[in-house]
């Protein structure tokens, strides 16, 4: 089985890109499954089900979605193997832009969209910097110049990534993108023992443990302070 991890800011078009890509992959008679990670709510699993794709969803609730992802990824891989998948895709939303769900030696894809503004590539941390392929969406509604500037900023932040434009509505580019996802030579039976590409966002302070009161005396553990001094 192949494993591919998708990640990207909310509403950047991850699900649309994956659905269009799966259409192309299914034509090669490959069996694809998806596990969708989200925070509070998602009905994207319905969209996958409609497309005839085996799907599971996991909601992290009050936990950091990345921590939830890494604590469950091994079980997810086994789920995929039991279903005899050729390709297992995990999709996780990057909510704080500091997200970093990628695993070493496992294909990592970041989906970001042209509408998010040209400074966005700079704002996204390891999720963009350590991805193997960056998919840029919503190119059909912004000007050519904005597309060019956006793509060149992505390349500045991650010079090693392949950068592709995929249209999640029409599917333009999805076939081409799909050819990069599956590799016959690749067999993932387990991810136990593998490592994350970068450490996940962390906190461990009193608020992580349920503190609700505000004030210095209630702040314990890993606390960082904003610089408010005169410039």
């Amino acid at each position: 089985m192949n494993l591919v991890t998708f990640s990207g800011p909310p509403s950047s078009g991850k699900t649309a890109v994956i659905l269009k890509t799966i259409e192309a992959i299914q034509q090669q008679e490959l069996k694809v499954g998806v596990v969708k990670f989200d925070c509070l709510y998602t009905d994207d699993d319905e969209l996958y089900r409609k497309a005839g794709v085996p799907v599971k969803k996991g909601l992290s609730g009050s936990l950091c979605p990345d921590h939830y992802f890494v604590s469950n990824i091994e079980e997810v891989v086994q789920w995929g193997r039991e279903r005899d998948l050729d390709l297992l895709i995990t999709e996780s939303a990057g909510l704080c832009n500091r997200c970093s769900p990628y695993i070493k030696d496992i294909k990592a894809i970041c989906v970001i969209d042209n509408l998010s503004g040209i400074n966005t590539p700079k704002k996204i941390g390891p999720m963009l910097k350590t991805a193997d392929i960056v998919v840029i969406t919503k190119g059909d509604i912004v000007s050519q110049a904005e597309r060019e500037v956006f793509a060149s900023r992505v390349s500045t932040v991650n010079p090693d990534a392949m950068v592709m434009n995929v249209n999640g509505l029409t599917g333009q580019g999805a076939f081409e993108f799909s050819t990069l996802l599956y590799d016959e030579e690749d067999h993932i039976d387990t991810v136990t023992g593998k490592k994350l590409r970068f450490s996940m966002p962390s906190a461990m302070c009193s608020y992580c443990l349920g503190e609700t009161r505000i004030g210095a005396e209630h702040q314990l553990g890993n606390v960082r302070k904003i610089e408010l001094g005169d410039e």
């Binding site: 509604i141 000007s143 110049a145 060149s152 900023r153 390349s155 990534a161």
Partner: protein, 345 residues
């Protein structure tokens, strides 16, 4: 070849002096540089945990990434091979697996090719084949040649440089910038030498295309449809790095379409134009007829069609004038009895 070890031992100032474009790289990577005279190795040794977190990479990964960036930029700047003299499409198959009805279609730079066919007929697929420089590895099995050779793979994956630029009716400006700021931003990303001159030229050309003039300081998001398209076309013609341009209809309002096409072909671009408008279609040298996923026919615009175009332009002018009159509060009157006769015939 850029040596990673050398980069690690160089100071930030030395690196920027040798490769000026790395300034934006340092900025984009959010590396906290308090003293440009320190080497990368020294800077990384001094980073706090928080600063380390921001920059994501350790010194080795950072140097790798920097080396890749320099390689990308050298490729981007040093290239003259991005000139497309001839774009060739070798026949593939339609949706039913039938061979397409031609062997090889050559399109030369400066030529305009119209693409016609009903919705869903395969226009997007044709464009995608070109953009991907297909080599029999797409559903249509078409092959794309550039200057009669198999194109470099770089066209598929590099971020800063794509083979095809696109202009469509649905496109909008989304940045909060003035016209001049916007053009400067685009020019900066292209790293051109004579930025001021080029920006000025785009501004002038765009205003010549637009029905209504706009100023340097106008916000791009507040331009009218015609003004936006004029600016997009002038900018794409003069500043886009892509040698092939695909146009998806140009609405006949607020812009001089003929001049727009002249500007594009004048910049030695290959122009492909998907359209249902007979005036636009006939501006092409040839038109490709697409149906059921395949190219059914390639028709050369005939002398008679060029004559027809003159008549169509008269009709077009009549409508434009009426629109203008309406706009400025004039009463509209009948055009002529002949036209009425044509209409009712």
């Amino acid at each position: 070849m850029i040596k990673k070890e050398e980069l690690k031992n160089s100071t930030v100032n030395e690196i920027i002096e040798e490769y000026p474009y790395t300034e934006s790289f340092f900025d984009g990577q959010k590396l906290a540089v308090d003293d440009g005279d320190k080497s990368l190795r020294e800077i990384f040794a001094d980073l706090t945990v928080e600063e380390m977190e921001d920059v994501v990479f350790d010194v080795d990964q950072f140097a790798d990434s920097l080396a890749s960036h320099i390689r990308n930029m050298q490729e981007f700047l040093g290239e003259n091979d991005s000139v497309v003299g001839t774009l060739s499409i070798l026949a593939g198959k339609d949706k039913d697996g039938e061979l397409e009805n031609y062997d090889k279609l050559d399109i030369k730079s400066g030529e305009i090719i119209s693409i016609v066919g009903p919705t869903g007929s395969g226009k997007s697929r044709l464009l995608a084949d070109i953009e991907w420089t297909a080599q029999g590895d797409t559903p249509t099995e078409r092959k794309i040649l550039i200057n009669d050779a198999v194109p470099d793979k770089k066209w598929r994956f590099t971020g800063g440089k794509k083979l095809v630029a696109q202009l469509s009716q649905n496109m909008n400006f989304v940045m909060d910038l003035s016209v001049i700021e916007f053009l400067n931003l685009h020019a900066e990303s292209r790293l051109i030498d004579n930025q001021e001159e080029v920006v000025e030229r785009i501004f002038t050309e765009a205003n010549q295309l637009a029905g209504e003039q706009f100023s340097r300081d106008a916000q791009i998001t507040s331009l009218s449809g015609g003004q936006s398209r004029a600016l997009m076309i002038a900018d794409t013609a003069i500043l886009s790095s892509s040698p092939i341009i695909l146009i998806d209809e140009i609405e006949n309002a607020g812009i001089n379409r003929e001049k727009a096409l002249e500007l594009l072909v004048g910049e030695e671009k290959v122009v492909l134009m998907a359209t249902h408008d007979p005036i636009l279609a006939l501006m092409g040298d040839k038109r490709i007829i697409i149906n059921n996923g395949g190219i059914k026919d390639i028709i050369k615009t005939t002398a008679e069609e060029k004559e027809l175009m003159k008549e169509l332009k008269v009709l077009d002018k009549v409508m434009t004038d009426l629109r203008e009159d309406l706009r400025y509060g004039k009463n509209l009157s009948r055009i002529s009895d002949e036209l009425a006769a044509v209409k009712t015939a």
